[in-house]
């Protein structure tokens, strides 16, 4: 075959794919990135938090060039009931000075800029091309096709970075069909508001930002969470839940978002804003125990396509980038040995296990099943907490001794066995 053959073809120009492409090209490999969107990032969705430290490792000096929204100085965890709101806040002025911990970002803009870094390193990035299938020879992946007559490209190794619900990962035999229990469906809106209004409503110093994660009524009690992140001149607001639960309960995620936006504690935050963007996307939730095979002869999987997402700590993009880096390293080694077999590419998995990617995923692997098995955590407990708080705060003439006794009775209404199981389960989940 005298076709021009590249060292690597990367499918998908998101954080994982671009990082892989950038690192491989910087090491002198010939790399082509194919992206189905109009531009890299066009089809990407994320709530919108980017962590500085891992990103700096991937892309030193990025803060000077990349489109970033607000440094996050405050984190709130909130629980919503139908008519109440309770939770915790942490704000540190240490977060308000460089080096920052995290920024809010607009994924599409950031990815678009990030892709130029891969091009600078020498990778060729072609948007508006959708890879419809892989090409095989003797059981090895040897390239990709875009489905057009002239749309076949050959490479020593293909990197699948095509996002959640990756069809190509299935085609590659790395995964059976993705199950609804392994994915969350999230709907998100970008709501435009003047910077001063945002700073006023969230009580922020100029150009600083806040991140809210909200449980309970935000997801109609389903396992998932709502989020609100402040951007320079807009708010990212979204919510979602496990696809399995949405299907079972018949709840439409758009309705869920509408209801969330209308909640009396949430509506004032976004009042008067114009929705300038709407998107919905799947997020892998299967965790460590449901990871696909991450490599085979001539192919590796990175990022969301590989299910490498940590929903507990809200980390997806940085794990994607790190997986892209490690995949690149494995492929660079494979190129040195001219061996792109599964045995050689297993190095990728090895590197992942040694890295924070799989270490963290292993650590939190029991959290989602734990929470999923206990729907009362996001329904009855928030309501109970709200009732207790209301009781405590209401001045109604009841002597404090009796009030405390009443609260004690409320607490005791929780079956002891359930409470014990919850506590034990939680300990086990995070150990």
């Amino acid at each position: 075959m005298d076709e021009e053959r590249f060292d690597a073809i990367v499918v998908g120009a998101g954080p994982a794919g671009i990082t892989a492409a950038k690192d491989m090209a910087a090491a002198g490999l010939s790399v082509v990135v194919l992206e189905r969107g109009q531009y890299p990032g066009a089809k990407n969705v994320s709530g919108g938090i980017l962590y500085r430290h891992p990103t700096e490792e991937m892309c030193p000096g990025f803060e000077a060039e990349a489109p970033l929204e607000r440094p996050i100085i405050e984190q709130r965890y909130l629980v919503l009931t139908e008519d109440a709101l309770l939770g915790g806040v942490y704000r540190s002025m240490r977060f308000a000075e460089p080096p920052y911990n995290a920024y809010s970002v607009l994924r599409a803009e950031f990815d678009r800029w990030y892709a130029t870094k891969a091009e600078e390193a020498g990778a060729e990035v072609y948007p508006e091309f959708t890879v419809t299938d892989l090409l095989w020879e003797d059981g090895r992946v040897v390239g990709v096709t875009t489905g057009d007559p002239d749309g076949e490209l050959y490479a020593h190794c293909v990197v699948l970075a095509d996002g959640a619900n990756s069809l190509l990962a299935q085609r590659a035999g790395l995964h059976r069909e993705w199950e609804p229990i392994e994915q969350a469906l999230v709907a998100k809106e970008l709501i435009a508001l003047p910077a001063a209004t945002i700073e006023d409503r969230f009580q922020l110093p100029a150009s600083m930002g806040a991140a809210y994660e909200i449980f309970g009524e935000s997801t109609w009690g389903l396992l998932g969470y709502g989020f609100i992140y402040t951007n320079k001149e807009s708010i990212s607001i979204g919510t979602g839940a496990l696809l399995h639960d949405l299907i079972e309960s018949g709840i439409n995620v758009n309705d869920m978002l509408d209801r969330f936006k209308q909640h009396p504690a949430i509506a004032p935050l976004i009042a008067g804003g114009e929705t300038i963007e709407y998107s919905a996307h799947l997020i892998p939730e299967g965790g460590y125990d449901r990871l696909p095979k991450l490599y085979a002869d001539g192919v590796v999987v990175v990022g969301d396509a590989a299910g490498l997402v940590n929903p507990v700590n809200r980390e997806g993009a940085n794990l994607a980038m790190l997986s892209g880096r490690l995949a690149a390293r494995a492929i660079i080694e494979a190129k040195e040995r001219n061996d792109f077999s599964a045995a050689q590419l297993a190095r990728y998995r090895e590197l992942l296990e040694e890295s924070v990617v799989l270490k963290d995923l292993r650590k939190i692997r029991r959290v989602t099943p734990f929470a999923h098995a206990r729907p009362h955590l996001l329904r009855e407990y928030p309501q109970l907490a709200s009732d207790i708080a209301r009781e405590y705060l209401t001045v109604d003439g009841l002597p404090k001794k009796e009030k405390l006794a009443k609260i004690g009775r409320m607490l005791r209404s929780v079956p002891k066995r359930q409470l014990a199981s919850d506590v034990l389960g939680a300990l086990r989940a995070v150990s």
Binding site: Q38, E124, P149, D150, L153, A192
Partner: protein, 256 residues
């Protein structure tokens, strides 16, 4: 045989990504730039003529460096080479000045046919084509929906209010492509990759003295005024009655 074909292409902001800023009432253009829609028909027709009869297709565009992307896309579709007439402030000039910039360069080229789009997506004047033709002293045909060639004689269909006008004209001629002329192809991946190797000549232009023939004001959004009567959740028969009564009231249908 072969024809020397020049295609005039304009790069415009993506009209699908235009937003109106509620606060200022001003349009916000995306920096996503594309080839103006009608120009794609022009490029496609040029390629079809070349594929059927042989020849060369040269893409010419005037503007800032970003215009290179538009030329590259046309090369990816199959054009042979490109010419970028470098002019950062191209949008500041009126159409006659733009036509002068183009014509000044085209005069030094050989061509049988010049193709361009009927008008551009952003300002939609449709002036540059006829004005380039006038400056070059060649005929032009607008609203072209069909082109047939017989040596140096062309038979062209024009879209008019009465239907399709059939005209005959000899080369050299400038044709303005209209919807219905053809279905533009998508550049293939191989085409885009090969386009990187095709030459694009960068030419600096002498900016014409535009004078102040036309002076533009700030764009503004036309307030349509409040919407009229909207019926919702009204049974069809009732809604129909109300509509017909209203039509009579407004004298839009004969009364009685």
């Amino acid at each position: 045989m072969g024809y020397s074909i020049i295609v005039l292409v304009k790069q415009v902001p993506d009209m699908n990504a235009v937003r109106i800023d509620r606060a200022t009432g001003q349009p916000v253009l995306s920096d996503q730039r594309v080839i103006s829609s009608f120009d794609e028909y022009a490029i496609e027709e040029a390629l079809r003529i070349k594929e059927a009869h042989g020849g060369e297709v040269v893409v010419v565009s005037a503007g800032p460096p970003s215009v290179k992307d538009a030329i590259q896309r046309a090369l990816g579709m199959g054009a042979d080479r490109g010419v970028l007439l470098a002019c950062d402030q191209i949008n500041d000039f009126d159409t006659l000045a733009v036509a002068e910039i183009l014509a000044n360069h085209l005069r030094g080229m050989t061509y049988d046919i010049i193709l361009c789009g009927q008008n551009s997506d952003d300002y939609a004047t449709g002036h540059v084509g006829p004005q380039v033709a006038e400056l070059l002293g060649i005929p032009h045909i607008s609203s072209v929906t069909k082109v047939e060639l017989d040596g140096q004689q062309l038979t062209v269909h024009r879209d008019t209010e009465e239907g399709k006008q059939v005209v005959e004209v000899g080369t050299p001629v400038l044709l303005m492509a209209m919807t219905g002329l053809n279905e533009p192809r998508y550049p293939s991946l191989k085409g885009i990759m090969a386009a990187k190797k095709k030459p694009i000549e960068q030419v600096s232009v002498t900016v014409p003295e535009a004078g102040a023939r036309l002076r533009w004001g700030e764009p503004f959004v036309l307030e349509r005024g409040s919407a009229g009567r909207i019926l919702q959740d009204v049974p069809a028969a009732e809604a129909a009655k109300e509509l017909v009564a209203w039509l009579r009231e407004q004298k839009l249908i004969p009364t009685g």
